[in-house]
C-alpha cells in the first residue's frame, strides 16, 4: 500500500517554561535541531505540516502565518493539521500520507505550544459545546476523572491497589524524565507523597496530572528512495491508525473505548502485529493522567480489561519489563499540547534508531506511539520499526 515512508530526523526544544524565547524562536529551535539531526538544510524540505491547539491557547489565530519563517515554509506548501490533543499525531499522519502519496519526498512535521502564555484549562473548556457540556466539564481533568471512575466501577478495580498502581506509574515517569534531556518536570517524588497528595478531581491527585509546558517538536519524513540515499538509520512507518467518536461525552462507551480499540486494530493489522505486548519493544502512550494510561493499555490489547493495575504493580510496563512504556517520562512530565503527540512519534523513532541516549530501551526495533484528543474522542497511533 503506497510508498514506504521513514523518519530521518527529529528535533525537540528544551521543554518547560520558556520565557527566554518568543513563540517563533521556540519553534525555530526544534526545526533547526531536526534539520541538524537529519543532516539536511531548509532547501531540502518539500513541504511543511504544522499543528497546534486552539488559537486561544496563546492568543494568536492561524499561527502558521506568524510562524512561517520559524518553520522555514516560505515559498513552500504548508498543511495545517489540527485535531485538539491528538494534533501532534495527526501532524505526523499528514506528513506520512503526503510522502506516501508521492506528492512530496521530504516533509517536515512541526508541532508546538507555548502554554505558559495563556490559560490552557480555560481554553480547553471552550472545546466543549457552549450549550450543554461547557458548564459542566471542568477542563481536561474533569473529563478524564469521569472516564476513570466509569472504568474503575465497570471492572471492580480495588481502590487501594489502583491508587498504588497509579503512584507507580507517576513515580516511574518522573524518574524516567531525569534520563530525558528535553523533559520539563524533573523532580523526585516518593510513592507515599504521590499516594497522599491532594485530590484534584477524584480519583486524580496532584502527581497523576501532566504539566503545562512550552515546547516544540519537529520530525522529518522521507520517501523510501530518498531515505535510502541518506545512509543513516531510519525509523520506518509500519502502521498509521486514527478514530474519533461523538462530541457528546455520553454518546459512546469510553471504557471499552472504540476509538482506542479500533485505531489500535488498524495499526496492528498494517504492521502485522498479533500480540502487541510480546511484539512491541517500547510504547510511547499519551498519558496526561496516570489512570488513563492504564485504561489505554487495556484498549490497546497490552492486557485484558481490568488487569492493567496488577501488571503495573508487577513492573510489566516499567523499564526491564515486558513492554516498557513512556521511557521519555511521557506526557506526565512534558506537555506542550500541540507538540505532545509528535513528541511520542519522535521518541518512538529515536528508540528504533538507537538514538534515545540514556533512556534508550536496549535493542528496541518496534515501537508504538499514541495520542488522544477532543472531548475524550480521538485516538491516533503510529507503529515505527527499524526494518522496512
Amino acid at each position: 500500500m503506497g510508498r514506504s515512508v521513514a523518519i530521518m530526523g527529529t528535533g525537540q526544544t528544551q521543554h518547560g517554561k520558556r520565557f527566554d524565547v518568543s513563540y517563533p524562536e521556540l519553534v525555530k529551535e526544534a526545526v533547526q535541531r531536526a534539520l541538524a539531526d537529519a543532516g539536511l538544510s531548509p532547501e531540502d524540505i518539500d513541504g511543511v505540516v504544522a499543528g497546534t491547539m486552539p488559537s486561544m491557547m496563546e492568543g494568536v489565530a492561524l499561527n502558521h502565518l506568524y510562524l512561517a519563517d520559524a518553520m522555514q515554509v516560505v515559498g513552500k506548501p504548508l498543511l495545517k493539521t489540527e485535531t485538539c490533543g491528538s494534533t501532534g499525531m495527526s501532524v505526523a499522519h499528514t506528513a506520512f500520507y503526503w510522502v506516501a502519496s508521492g506528492m512530496a519526498d521530504v516533509v517536515l512535521a512541526v508541532g508546538y505550544e507555548k502554554m505558559y502564555e495563556g490559560d490552557s484549562q480555560a481554553t480547553m473548556t471552550t472545546v466543549a459545546d457552549p450549550w450543554i457540556q461547557r458548564s459542566f466539564v471542568a477542563g481536561a481533568p474533569g473529563i478524564f476523572a469521569m472516564q476513570s471512575n466509569m472504568w474503575i466501577d465497570r471492572y471492580h478495580i480495588p481502590e487501594d491497589r489502583l491508587r498504588e498502581a497509579a503512584a507507580v506509574i507517576s513515580q516511574r515517569n518522573h524518574d524516567d524524565a531525569f534520563d530525558n534531556p528535553f523533559a520539563h518536570i524533573k523532580v523526585r517524588v516518593s510513592l507515599d507523597e504521590i499516594m497522599n497528595a491532594r485530590i484534584i478531581t477524584y480519583p486524580i491527585r496532584r502527581w497523576d496530572v501532566c504539566p503545562n509546558s512550552d515546547g516544540a517538536c519537529a520530525v522529518i519524513f522521507m520517501s523510501e528512495s530518498r531515505a535510502q540515499q541518506m545512509g543513516r538509520p531510519a525509523a520506518w512507518i509500519k502502521g498509521v491508525g486514527y478514530r474519533g467518536d461523538e462530541s457528546y461525552l455520553g454518546d459512546s462507551d469510553k471504557v471499552r473505548w472504540n476509538t482506542a480499540i479500533d485505531a489500535a486494530k488498524e495499526v496492528y493489522q498494517q504492521a502485522g502485529i498479533i500480540n502487541p505486548r510480546r511484539e512491541l519493544d517500547v510504547a510511547e502512550v499519551y498519558n496526561p493522567f496516570t489512570f488513563m494510561e492504564m485504561l489505554l493499555y487495556e484498549c490497546f490489547g497490552f492486557c485484558d480489561f481490568g488487569e492493567a493495575y496488577d501488571l503495573v504493580l508487577q513492573g510489566t510496563f516499567s523499564r526491564g519489563g515486558d513492554l516498557p512504556c513512556d521511557p521519555s517520562g511521557g506526557v506526565l512530565c512534558t506537555n506542550p499540547i500541540g507538540a505532545t503527540g509528535l513528541i511520542r512519534v519522535a521518541e518512538a523513532a529515536m528508540q528504533v534508531t538507537g538514538k534515545a541516549g540514556t533512556h534508550q530501551i536496549d535493542g528496541a526495533r518496534l515501537a508504538l506511539a499514541h495520542a488522544m484528543g477532543g472531548v475524550s474522542q480521538f485516538n491516533g497511533l503510529m507503529i515505527l520499526g527499524s526494518d522496512r
Binding site: 524562536e25 496563546e58 492568543g59 502564555e117
Partner: protein, 158 residues
C-alpha cells in the same frame, strides 16, 4: 408566524502573558531609549527591523545589532476609518509601511501629526514616497507605541 429560535450571545475573554524573548526584549528596550534597532544577517546582508533573532530567509541566528535611522520613506499607506469589536486603535488613523534609512525591510507603523479629518487633507501631506520621521512618546514603557507615530517631514523630502 414562524417560531423564533433562541440564540446565545457569548464572548470569550482570556488572559495572556506572552514572552518577548531576548531579541525583542532588546529591541523594545531600544525603543525606550529612543533607538530603533535592527539585526544584520551576515549571509544575505539585509538589516531587518524590528530586530530578529534569526534571518527568515537564510535561517541562521543573528546577533549583529544595528541602529537604523529614525527617518524613512513611506512605501504605502491607508487611512483607516472603520470600526470593529476588539479594535487595537481608535479610528481614524493612518497605517503605513515605512522603509527606515539603513534598513532593508519596511517597518509597519502609524503616520500621525497631520489633519485626519478628511482624505483630502491627508493627501496634502502624504503620498507614497513621503519622507517621515519618528515622533517619540512621552512615556516609553517598551512597546511599539514608544514611537507615537511617524510624521511627514515636508521640507526634507527626498
Amino acid at each position: 408566524m414562524a417560531k423564533e429560535y433562541r440564540t446565545l450571545h457569548t464572548t470569550v475573554d482570556l488572559p495572556y502573558e506572552l514572552a518577548f524573548g531576548a531579541t525583542l526584549t532588546r529591541f523594545f528596550d531600544g525603543l525606550s531609549e529612543e533607538k530603533i534597532l535592527g539585526t544584520r544577517c551576515p549571509k544575505c546582508g539585509r538589516v531587518l527591523v524590528p530586530a530578529r533573532s534569526f534571518c527568515p530567509r537564510c535561517f541562521i541566528d543573528l546577533d549583529q545589532w544595528v541602529e537604523v535611522g529614525q527617518m524613512g520613506t513611506v512605501e504605502t499607506w491607508s487611512l483607516v476609518s472603520y470600526r470593529y469589536f476588539g479594535m487595537a486603535k481608535t479610528p481614524p488613523y493612518i497605517t503605513a509601511l515605512i522603509r527606515l534609512d539603513g534598513a532593508d525591510v519596511s517597518l509597519t507603523h502609524l503616520v500621525g501629526g497631520i489633519d485626519l479629518s478628511s482624505l483630502e487633507m491627508v493627501r496634502t501631506h502624504l503620498s507614497i514616497g513621503t519622507r517621515v520621521k519618528a515622533v517619540w512618546a512621552k512615556e516609553k514603557p517598551g512597546s511599539i507605541f514608544d514611537i507615537e507615530y511617524f510624521v511627514p517631514v515636508e521640507a526634507d523630502s527626498h
